[in-house]
Amino acid sequence: MAHHDDPTESPKAMPSALDVDSLAESLEGRRIRSELESRLFGRAQPSPRIGQYSLQHRLGQGGMGTVYAATDPQTGQSVAIKVVPTDKAQAIDRLRREAKAMANLEHPNIVTVHEVGTCDDGLYLVMDLVEGQTLAAWANAGRAWPEIVALGLQVADALGAAHDLGIVHRDVKPENILVDTQGQARLVDFGLAKPLPGSEADNLSQFTESLTDTGVVVGTMGYIAPEQLLGLSVGPSCDQFSLCATLFEILFGVRPFDGKTGDAVAMAIVTGDVSAVPDEVEVPASVAAALRQGMGATPAERFASMKDLAEALRKAMEAQGSGRGSGRGSDKGSDKRRWWSRRRRR
């Protein structure tokens, strides 16, 4: 930069390492470029490929990589491909772990992984393409509470199946739960998954990374269980905590652990300071009570398993349905009353 005669404008003060130069060369940059060349100059450009798959469009992007919709030109099958650049060592580890964890998992509410491979741009994971939206977006359309709880039960069942295999998800949150066009929940992102020491998964898949150690903190602020945040040993009940925190937010429109600063949020989690349920939300108290128990500050205060949590939620739903039904002399299916969840606060 030739024009820095003014010392207060030293380029040093601006981080120089911003990763902007390589943007056009990235997979994303190349894909947009080929699209533009075809639009501007009318030449049909082949879309970039990963393995045998031809990239269609981007589905999403996060700190850990990009997810594309792609097709297999041989079979015409549509898939989702997550690509993690090679230079993101931590993300690569996560993707490998995700592939290992999911290879053993077959469940209708868990996204199936088909293939893992390497390409010039990094490591990729080929998964089912889920047509739908995230739980957060789905809930924003205004959902009756029984609908939300029913969806939560599907996720609880999926997590229970993972736990049976000795796999803990560790990053359950609204963004990691998709709702497909049939209204089925699909759990994604097992990138932080960890096998329980000595479990079948531990033996089978040789997760050798340091993540089996305590003292390493991973997860997402706001949904992370206290023992996870504190870097203590983490068991299946951290998924129970995170699922309950997720359902709490979706049902009541407030975050269960809130505060003006990150410190305050972390402190609320660790001390078990759960937000009050807003008065105007008509969700049975028994549902709120089950979620509170699932968010117990220590694992001992929570339900013994995902099954027990599911059982408590189911009972709460049934009690509500039959109670109203008998009161009006009708069966629960004819109860047309809607309970709207408030819009999530952002």
Binding site: L18, L23, L40, R58, M221, D263, A266
Partner: protein, 207 residues
């Protein structure tokens, strides 16, 4: 190497290969110009900018460099985009609104690491005018003369504005460092939090 203006003239006279060459030269710049300012894929915006460049409605002043000319069109396309995003609102004031407010949503560009992600987010939270100023000045090595042309402000004002922009950026960075909503979207160093909380928790547990 043919000059930018040569290529532009040839493209205007229907020479497609000249257009392709010009596009190849400036695609990386346009991509990074738009990528950190809109929450959508910038494909349409880049296309509109290139087409506006060739359709000849915008006159290139004799002394003007092609790059400044291109950025001034891109800047206008960005303004149009924000206007469309805010249906029924007043003309967009880029001097007082941040791109994160005008077009909320995650940016399409991700930094290599968390530090960069925080920086990119902070840039999105200062007024667009300042964001553009800083990015052009530091990333594109644009001269203050070029920037003054494309933003249509006097040359002398630019330096003051860069200083002000830097100040705002530093404030935005400081704020985001302790904002739970930012933390949540960035995979921050939770270890740091854990250490903090652990020491605090020992105190509260003793109470």
């Amino acid at each position: 190497m043919r000059s930018d203006l040569d290529l532009l003239e040839a493209w205007r006279a229907n020479d497609q290969s000249a257009g392709e060459e010009l596009f190849a030269r400036y695609y990386p710049l346009l991509l990074r110009f738009f990528a950190n300012k809109v929450p959508v894929e910038p494909t349409d915006l880049i296309q509109e900018t290139m087409l506006a460049c060739v359709d000849g409605q915008h006159r290139l002043r004799e002394t003007e460099k092609f790059r400044a000319f291109l950025f001034s069109i891109a800047y206008n396309k960005l303004r149009d985009f924000y206007r469309r995003a805010q249906v029924g609102e007043e003309p967009v004031d880029m001097a007082s609104h941040a791109s994160a407010d005008l077009a909320p949503g995650p940016s399409t560009m991700m930094g290599r690491d968390e530090q960069q992600q925080l920086m990119l987010r902070a840039l999105r939270r200062i007024p667009v005018e300042y964001q553009v100023l800083l990015e052009l000045f530091y990333w594109e090595d644009a001269t203050s003369a070029e920037i003054s042309v494309l933003m249509d402000v006097p040359h002398s004002t630019i330096r003051t504005r860069i200083r002000r922009a830097r100040q705002l950026l530093e404030e935005a960075l400081a704020e985001s460092a302790n904002d739970p909503r930012v933390l949540e979207r960035t995979r921050t160093d939770l270890d740091g939090w854990a250490a903090k909380i652990r020491s605090a928790h020992q105190v509260s547990a003793a109470l």
